[in-house]
Symmetry: C2
Subunit: 335 residues, 2 copies
DNA sequence: CTGAAAGCGCTTACAG
DNA sequence: CTGAAAGCGCTTACAG
């Protein structure tokens, strides 16, 4: 494969000159147009393509973006909620001329021990997208401090909120859904959430509390016990909102509870999903998490971080995308 | 970030010695155990992680495998047939400690002109998986000649059959399905295939012809006209086999023809899919294309090519995986 | 047993 | 306007 040195020989110039010409002469070196053309022509004739590895070692960019997931990159269980993000990532990466490196090869056994090594490896790329709840503070903090561009997909508050991210605005989306319920006369609304404290869950809770300020609304954390909807009714609950997660745990528990009352679509209870209901239950009110757009915007943000167009401490490095409302038919007046 | 030079200083040895120790001393250089330990300790203390870019430039391996698709890596239209392959690829790559590079960044406009450049770029990786019908002879041939390890996913006969691949054994799988029909008494069987000449289509046709040798079996290539099943019946056809492709074109055409006779499951015609029917029509006889396994085996083969465990001209560099039969209920006796 | 040197293919100051 | 030099962080013969 031809190298710059070969072109230099063919064009009768130095290898450094070839480098300058081929890199578009960003350094604005003065140069005879004839020389430039001669180099370009020789490069064309020899079928030259730069070696990305050497480029990366010598300079700082190789037009490759990393994608680091803490579990598997192509999950089989939660593929539905995950795939759209990948689609968005690829779409935008392609549009911006970036290749993608999937860091999957981080050994078997002791993953925790390998994390630091694995994460440091992301440096092959110009920058890296991270996806997952897991934030290994030290490793990520080290990357951040060294100025390595990185973007989390999904909001992250760790490391004093210094992590750039592109997330979904669950607070507003939830508030809007719940406000609609309140507008319809509901005064006792219950938020069914799962056990863990993912930002997406606590953000929903925040939006919920904003919309129900002053009302007897309450949050029910899912435990092993299942849900007693009749008891909730007796407590005066007239509407239930349930969070969507990639495992559908809370949603499924609610569905189960509804079915045990022989009601998939209850007439004495309004329902809404804080997210998008599964396709089968398309009529349920909720909102759409803009996964594909999150993928796209994460790539855009990462590239702007790489080009230093914006700094990693800039407010613009943390983005929350709006969620589109999904109409549905399960939010009615109080019964 | 600490480099080998830093470790060398800390351990009081030369940088080259550090390199030898850290790379596991494959060159079997004699070395005092104490020195080795001192180096290892210093590396640990400094939190050293090798720079993959430099490693790749200096040596020949960086434990990264390329994945080059001629369309989009994450398609939205044919995701179902595609995703399992990715799952297999990732699974095996992870198991073998390999990262994955997705070559998506090959500019917009003139793709054809960029192909050579884009394909040459795959050299960043230790080897590359290719996926798609498209075989740009010159570029792939160049890679092959230079000894660059590559594996196609799906059988490819181009370049005098010199391309390593992992495909599905459509010939045998089809033959078995059709033999079952023949065994059930069918003598006039029709194979419905699509227009193009993909290996997966011609392989099916070959298996079909093997099983129907001596019988009046015939192949119908789908055109714009739709299918007249009544006419086929009058011609004496008692069984139809239809190929599965990622677009389902032929299968959908057949379904349409069946529906126009108000029969989704005809009683005067036996049916089989050369592949797996869509979930809704699970009862249809067919076979399962082992997509995930193809992904896995392609990675395994690629790694063996990279390690020179097998040569690219070895027969072992071209693999056909068996397809598991899918029982179904649509293959009956002649009516 | 260990170190000094060359080289992988580039980029980027720095001299002329 | 162009070239010579150093360097990115490694590996790999080759000397001692």
């Amino acid at each position: 494969m031809p190298r710059q040195a070969d072109i230099a020989r063919a064009a009768g110039v130095s290898q450094a000159t070839v480098s300058v010409v081929l890199s578009g002469n960003r350094a604005r070196v003065r140069m005879a147009e004839a020389t430039r053309l001669r180099v370009l022509e020789a490069a064309e004739k020899l079928g030259y393509v730069p070696d990305p590895v050497a480029t990366r070692l010598a300079s700082s960019r190789n037009h490759m973006l990393g994608l680091y997931t803490f579990k598997t990159t192509f999950p089989t269980d939660v593929a539905d909620s995950y795939y759209p993000i990948l689609v968005g990532v690829e779409e935008e990466a392609a549009a911006l001329g970036q290749d993608l490196i999937l860091f999957t090869g981080r050994g078997g056994a002791d993953r925790r021990a390998h994390d630091a090594t694995a994460i440091r490896r992301t440096r092959v790329a110009d920058g890296c997208l991270f996806f997952g709840r897991h934030v290994p503070d030290e490793a990520i903090g080290g990357l951040l401090e060294s100025g390595f561009p990185l973007v989390y997909i999904g909001r992250r508050a760790e490391l004093d909120g210094r992590i750039p991210f592109v997330g979904a605005d669950y607070v507003s989306a939830t508030r809007q859904v719940v406000e609609r319920l309140v507008h319809n006369g509901h005064r006792n609304i219950r938020y069914l959430r799962e056990q863990d404290d993912a930002p997406s869950s606590t953000d929903r809770e925040r939006g919920f509390r904003q919309a129900t300020a002053g009302l007897p609304a309450s949050v029910h954390r899912l435990d092993g016990d299942g849900i007693d909807l009749d008891a909730w009714r007796r407590e005066g609950v007239t509407a239930v909102v349930v969070e969507e997660t990639d495992t559908w745990t809370a949603y499924n528990a609610l569905t189960l509870a509804l079915e045990s009352r022989n009601l998939t679509c209850p007439d004495d209870l309004s329902l809404a999903v804080l997210g998008r209901p599964p396709v089968e239950s398309a009529a349920v009110t909720g909102f759409a998490v803009p996964r594909r757009e999150m993928g796209r915007q994460a790539v855009r943000l990462l590239v702007r971080l790489i080009t230093r167009e914006i700094g990693q401490d800039s407010p613009a490095a943390q983005q929350l995308l709006p969620c589109a409302p999904v109409g549905g038919t399960t939010v009615g007046p109080v019964r």
